[in-house]
């Protein structure tokens, strides 16, 4: 396989085309209306057409002009940080702020190249104490602090 000449533009362009097609498919049952009285589908589909055009342009450009190589993706770090966020989202109600916050800190610290666990433990306890005092206690936001059984 030959190396792509301009992978950033090519992939970006293809993704834009895909987004445009996806929008067309998802707005298929919305009424378009006419310019004088636009329906809910008019503006999104107008945008989809323009996005598609930009995508085609990018793909075309990528065929003729060289571009920088793609940067490597750090899938591991990405998965850890995004996973930590999602886990927090689902655990904060049942487990409460302190436990779900601790999980978030531990999971995300796994993504750091130079983690030191003792340091993180001390810092994490302080941080959780601070946010607990700030959000549910001082600002009165409706957050559970401890797990509900």
């Amino acid at each position: 396989m030959t190396r792509l000449r301009n992978p950033g533009n090519l992939i970006g362009g293809l993704l834009l085309i895909a987004l445009a097609l996806f929008t067309f498919w998802q707005t298929a049952d919305l009424e378009i209306g006419r310019a004088m009285r636009m329906g809910p589908g008019y503006f999104p589909r107008l945008l989809a057409i323009l996005i598609c055009a930009m995508g085609v342009l990018l793909v075309a450009i990528s065929a003729f002009t060289p571009g920088p190589r793609l940067e490597r993706w750090s899938w591991g770090k990405l998965a850890l940080v995004l996973g930590a966020i999602i886990v927090f989202g689902f655990t904060v109600r049942p487990l409460g702020l302190v436990l779900s916050g601790a999980i978030l800190i531990v999971l995300s610290t796994l993504a750091a190249p130079d983690s030191r666990w003792k340091e993180t433990a001390v810092f994490g306890v302080g941080l959780l104490a601070f946010v607990t005092l700030l959000f549910p206690v001082a600002l009165g936001l409706p957050l559970a602090i401890w797990p509900r059984f």
Binding site: N9, M36, V81, L82, G89, S108
Partner: protein, 500 residues
């Protein structure tokens, strides 16, 4: 004098103890995030939006504005001491500011940056007070066609000023507009692109989008790069600049302030260009341009003043036309709508205390920054030594709590992760996310005005070119597009962004 009376009204609002306290809190938080690399004003303001629910609207906006210009100050501190721009706008300051620090003149560089910014802030406040009423009068004659064309200008200008490919920037704007259409249609109530997720019926939450695109994506990006922060260990002495320093930098401050004030008013984030423009100008007119890059004090004074002036005058399009010129101002729109204020030309009449209070608070905030920050520099330096491995989990905790408490729903938190993924992908593929956020905010406004304009003209698209103001604006947009495509300018633009 009307202006004096108005400013007096504003001062009486802004000088209430609670508002001074909020302003102080804002500039302190702003400086903090400005000093710390890897977290910018966009993500911070987005995170703090939910907290402002409980405040008075004036106080909330005073605090958020304080974060914005506080971050500009803090960014320059990092630029000078660590040779790392805390904010994108302080990139230029690293060139000469850090050289000064190496020559043992960090104190003078920091002081000139702070005093120049203070001067620029004062001038910009007056500019807003003078121009604000005039522009909002003009804006009141705007119909839907004019508003639509004005937003087109703003968005095109945003693509011109975005770094990298213009096509990619335009694509980002279009995607932002598309994201803005998610939710119930305003006229028919039909669900658009909501995928039957109840939380999306009101549209994508602005906070969620901003935190994901800017906060989370930046964190993952920073984790990839090994950390290098050569914090200056030498003690900073001689904070006061000498008379020679002041004499040398004052003209640069004046020029920088003028440039920044003008560029800041332009739609489409002209303020970003201000420090670059000022640095180039100073270098051009200097007797000995070779001094630049080796610790020329004008190279700090000019861009820093331009930066702060631009940051403040960029409030003008927001406060008078209701159209945010950049992503931070777009957040301010969010903050205003939360409190039931629709930004636009009528704000000044219907909410004079808010309008003038906010303007007066900028002056107070600038004063606070000089008084507080110069003595606090030692503290900021120590904060810079907090390693990133501790910093980013803390940022994540704040982001997650902030987003969750928007609606107490896990869906919002998951969406942050989704947008974080999108933001990371955009960075990797060379797309800049800032124009997308701006377009996301303008999207619903644009669609509404487009619909109204067509309704009035009975579907005739000529309405946009038959009305003189609208035609003029569209011509400006065309000219801007032409300018980018011209090869000579394109090269200049690439050079300007090369220095990143």
């Amino acid at each position: 004098m009307d202006i004096l009376a108005n400013l007096w009204l504003g001062l009486s609002v802004a000088a209430s103890p609670i508002n001074i306290a909020l302003c102080l809190l804002g500039v302190l938080v702003g400086t903090l995030i400005g000093v710390l690399p890897g977290i910018g004003p966009i993500a911070t303001i987005a995170m703090l939006l939910p907290i402002t629910f409980n405040l008075e609207p004036v106080g909330a906006l005073i605090m958020l504005a304080g974060i914005y210009y506080g971050a500009q100050y803090g960014g320059s501190t990092t630029a000078i001491l660590v040779n790392m721009p805390g904010e994108a706008t302080s990139v230029v300051t690293t060139l000469d500011g850090h050289q000064m620090a190496r020559q043992g003149r960090a104190g003078a560089a920091l002081a000139i940056a702070a005093l120049g910014s203070f001067f620029a802030g004062c001038v910009a406040t007056v500019v807003i007070a003078v121009l604000g009423p005039i522009l909002s009068k003009v804006a009141q004659s705007f119909g839907p066609a004019e508003y639509f064309s004005l937003m087109v200008v703003g968005l095109i200008a945003a693509t011109v000023l975005a770094s990298g490919s213009v096509i990619k920037a335009i694509a980002m704007i279009l995607v932002g507009l598309l994201l803005g259409t998610v939710g119930s249609d305003i006229e028919t109530g039909a669900q658009r692109l909501t995928f039957d997720i109840g939380e999306l019926a009101d549209g994508i939450n602005f906070t969620t989008l901003a935190i994901g695109l800017f906060g989370i994506a930046e964190i993952i990006r920073n984790l990839e790069r090994p950390e290098e922060r050569g914090v200056l260990d030498r003690k900073i002495t001689g904070l006061m600049p000498t008379w020679a320093d002041i004499r040398q930098s004052f003209p640069a401050v004046l020029r920088g302030t003028t440039l920044g004030s003008i560029l800041g008013i332009l739609p489409g984030n002209g303020a970003v260009l201000a420090p670059y423009a000022s640095y180039t100008l100073e270098k051009k007119i200097a007797d000995d341009p070779r001094r630049f890059g080796k610790g020329a004090i004008e190279g700090v004074a000019g861009p820093e003043s331009a930066n702060n002036a631009g940051a403040q005058t960029s409030f003008i399009p927001l406060l008078t036309l209701g159209i945010p010129p950049n992503a931070v101002m777009a957040l301010m729109v969010g903050a205003m709508t939360i409190h039931g204020i629709i930004p636009g030309p009528k704000v000044m009449e219907s909410n004079p205390t808010l309008f003038w209070g906010m303007i007066a608070s900028m002056w107070i905030g600038n004063l606070l920054l000089v008084v507080i920050n110069l003595p606090l520099i030692g503290l900021w330096v120590r904060l810079l030594k907090v390693p990133y491995r501790l910093l980013f989990p803390a940022i994540l905790v704040f982001c997650c709590i902030g987003v969750y408490t928007l609606n107490n729903s896990a869906v919002d938190v998951v969406l942050v992760a989704v947008f974080g993924f999108v933001g990371y992908g955009l960075l990797k593929l060379g797309f800049e996310p800032a124009p997308m956020l701006l377009a996301f905010v303008l999207g619903p406004l644009m669609e509404e005005n487009l619909r109204r304009a067509f309704l009035i003209s009975r579907g005739d698209p000529m309405v946009f070119v038959q009305r003189p103001i609208s035609l003029g604006l569209l011509l400006v947009a065309l000219a801007l597009l032409a300018v980018v495509v011209l090869p000579a300018v394109r090269k200049k633009r690439e050079e300007a962004f090369q220095e990143d």
